[in-house]
Amino acid sequence: MSNALAGAAVARRPRVSPRILREWALFGLLAFPNIALILMFVYRPLLTNVYYSTLDWTLGSSTARVIGLDNYREFFTGPDAATVLGTTAIFTVTTVGGSMLLGLLLATVLNRRLVGRTFARATVFAPYVLSGVGVGLVWTFIFDPVTGVLAGLLRMAGLGSPQWFLQPDLSLTMVIIVYVWKNLGYCAVIYLAAMQAVDRDLLEAAAIDGAGPVRTFVSIVWPLLSPTSFFLLLTTILGSLQAFDLIRIMTPLGNGTTTLMYDAYLQAFGGYNRAGYSAAIATILFVILLAMTVVQLRVLERRVHYA
């Protein structure tokens, strides 16, 4: 009886062939370094950050006190939460919308047969690959109300310069302008590549049917660009929510420009030294990023039209 059961068990569990074992071993050999690095440098810091968010810990101190969810409670019940979340929302919506819209317009222009088209494409893309710190410094000089280029031009026109660095609303506007300028080249290049992949037969058919340029764009090109728009929406939202360098360089105090990302920095390194509280803000940002990514993948992707 027992032999029969053992025999049945053996029969249910087929023997793994040496070839499959070799393939698994090869897979492990090739994948292990990457998996180990990802675990060490992505997931470990992520989990460590969540752990730190439960501490009352002053950066630089060797001791801390476990306080559970108090850091989260403080953030959501504190006076700054609405401002920080609002600034984050405004910054993200305007920079994502601005970059994508202007990128699309630029791509439409660059898709035509123009003299110096290659040079124009390189010029449009160049700011994206420049250092954010360098870009921030240059634009800080441009916006300087006393010695800046913009102030000089306004003076020539008999106008005074706005106080870009003092008024919170203007500071946010200034940073948004520079962020869009820096990133629209990325959107433009991706959109341009997608436009060039649109089937010429479809465009010719639309033209034969009497569709004008606007109708062709709305009914043919735009739907075919939806996978690209979806991709850009995903990546630019992630980028905007994590924007740091321009804000740090142009508005170090974060006066009007304190997004979630920058608040996490300010709380830990900007003078407050509240590493635990900063970790809680970073965790909140992570949850928002994760939620938005899931929503985009689950909801928006259904509306994407793949050719």
Binding site: T48, Y51, W57, L59, G60, L166, G271, Y272, N273
Partner: protein
């Protein structure tokens, strides 16, 4: 056809194990949570560690942000120190501001490579004390043969707490009143700084009348440029302050403090003769955007170079107020100290270097190159004054300085909170009393949650 994947017991256990492992992994490292949040700094021997039988290391590292563009002169001093002692000093640019150096130093506490000497600004050394990151210097200075009684008393005392010395003065400054002599002459004003802010309010319309388009008679320092530091002058002049003298009792919302900041707001919105600098008020003065401002003595040499050939710059003591005309000038700038978590050999070599960096000859050379104050009583300043007479005004003002308010220098993030509140007052015309009441609440919370638990 749809396929369903079920979570088997084995998979569930595997995932649970992975989760527990990850959680354990995440809890490794970082701060200890077994001994509460107290730093233990207060229980440290106030004289610091003993250096009996310790030989100084042959190589040390110095982290600086080169205040006042001091890298070149610091390297010269280091060369002489190495020639004199055989100890080499690796000068590291650890940031462009005190805050950036502090970020790096605090990050290094969590396991990075610590320096042997580090620059501490007036608002940072106390945090290192509460975090138990630095050593008291009495024994180290004694072992290095440094005479602490030769440091200027007020500047040396700035780094004392709980009966211990936590740093020594190095790039020390005070604010100075800077003015454009040409504008003064055009407005028919005497060639001196105003004695009081009331007097300047009388002068300002005359300056504004001769000012160019977009130019202000006066510019308040940039909010990001330590506004909380320079504003102590006017607060004290009116009998107020960020906090009561030598106390954590917050007083920024008293009638006197509110009156002082109302004067500041009125200078912008009612009198319309003052602006607020966006980046650097002293740069704006040099660019001709204002006729006067307050700036650090550490900016003196830089301003003189910037205005050379354009106009002459004058300097004077900070103006007084209706309640107090002196002392109304805060000390400021930076000192140098020694981390706790390094070898005694390195600490001793660091103390020797600190002594040399701030000795009478070095401090004069440093002052000549930057405009910062000589920090030694025995420093021969005759050559310094002959080369740059304006430094004499800054040195004389040292006799009428006042130690800064605890609320500004000892509360983490207080400078940022003060700047935010002042920004509301001078850029959004917020109600001064309301803004200060709100600031008081914030500062008191910082004290209660972040400072009080660390004090003995």
């Amino acid at each position: 056809m749809t396929t369903h994947s079920y979570l088997s017991r084995r998979s569930l256990l595997g995932l649970a194990g992975l989760g527990v492992g990850a959680a354990a992994l995440s809890a490794c490292g970082g701060p200890s949570t077994t001994s509460g949040s107290g730093s233990g700094a207060a229980s440290t021997d106030p004289n610091g560690p003993s250096f009996d039988g310790v030989q100084p290391a042959k190589q040390i590292t110095f982290w600086s942000n080169h205040p006042g563009n001091s890298e070149a002169v610091t390297r010269q001093i280091i060369q002489k120190f190495t020639a004199s002692t055989g100890i080499t000093v690796n000068l590291v640019t650890a940031g462009s501001t005190y805050e950036e150096v502090a970020q790096k130093f605090q990050a290094a506490q969590a396991g990075g490579q610590l320096p042997d000497v580090v620059v501490f600004s007036d608002v940072w050394w106390f945090r290192y004390y509460t975090q138990n990151s630095i050593i008291p210097l009495a024994n180290a200075l004694k072992a290095a043969g440094v005479d602490p009684t030769d440091y200027r008393d007020g500047l040396y005392a700035d780094y004392q707490y709980a009966g211990a010395q936590w740093a020594v003065p190095w790039a020390r400054s005070t604010p100075l009143f800077y003015y454009n002599k040409s504008d003064w002459k055009k407005a028919g004003l005497p060639d001196r700084a105003p004695k009081t802010w009331a007097e300047f309010a009388e002068w300002a319309p005359k300056l504004q009348a001769v000012a160019g388009a977009g130019q202000h008679a006066y510019e308040h320092p940039a909010l990001a440029d330590y506004a909380g530091w320079t504003l102590q002058n006017i607060l004290w002049g009116y009998g107020g302050g960020w906090s009561k003298k030598d106390s954590f009792d917050i007083t920024c919302d008293t009638d006197q403090s509110v009156a002082a900041l109302q004067y500041v707001q009125d200078s912008v919105y009612k009198g319309k003769w003052a602006g607020v600098s966006n980046k650097s008020a002293t740069d704006d003065l040099a660019a001709g955007a204002c006729s006067a401002t307050i700036g650090s003595t550490g900016s003196l040499v830089g301003i003189q170079k910037a205005v050379a050939g354009k106009f002459q710059v004058g300097v004077g003591f900070l103006p007084g107020g209706p309640v107090s005309q002196s002392p109304v000038c805060p000390t400021g700038g930076a000192g140098v100290g020694i981390p706790k978590g390094i070898k005694p050999e390195n600490q001793l070599a660091a103390a020797k270097f600190i002594g040399y960096l701030t000795n009478p000859e070095s401090t004069v050379a440093f002052s000549q190159a930057t405009g910062y104050m000589p920090v030694r009583k025995s420093a021969d300043t005759s050559s310094l004054l002959a080369a740059n007479p304006l430094i004499g005004t800054a040195i004389k003002q040292l006799d009428v300085t006042r130690t800064q308010d605890y609320a500004r220098v000892f509360l983490p993030g207080a400078d940022q909170e003060m700047a935010k509140s002042v920004a509301q007052i001078v850029t959004q015309q917020a109600d001064v009393k309301q803004a200060m009441s709100s600031l008081k609440g914030t500062l008191e919370q910082i004290y209660t949650t972040q400072v009080k638990p660390h004090l003995a």
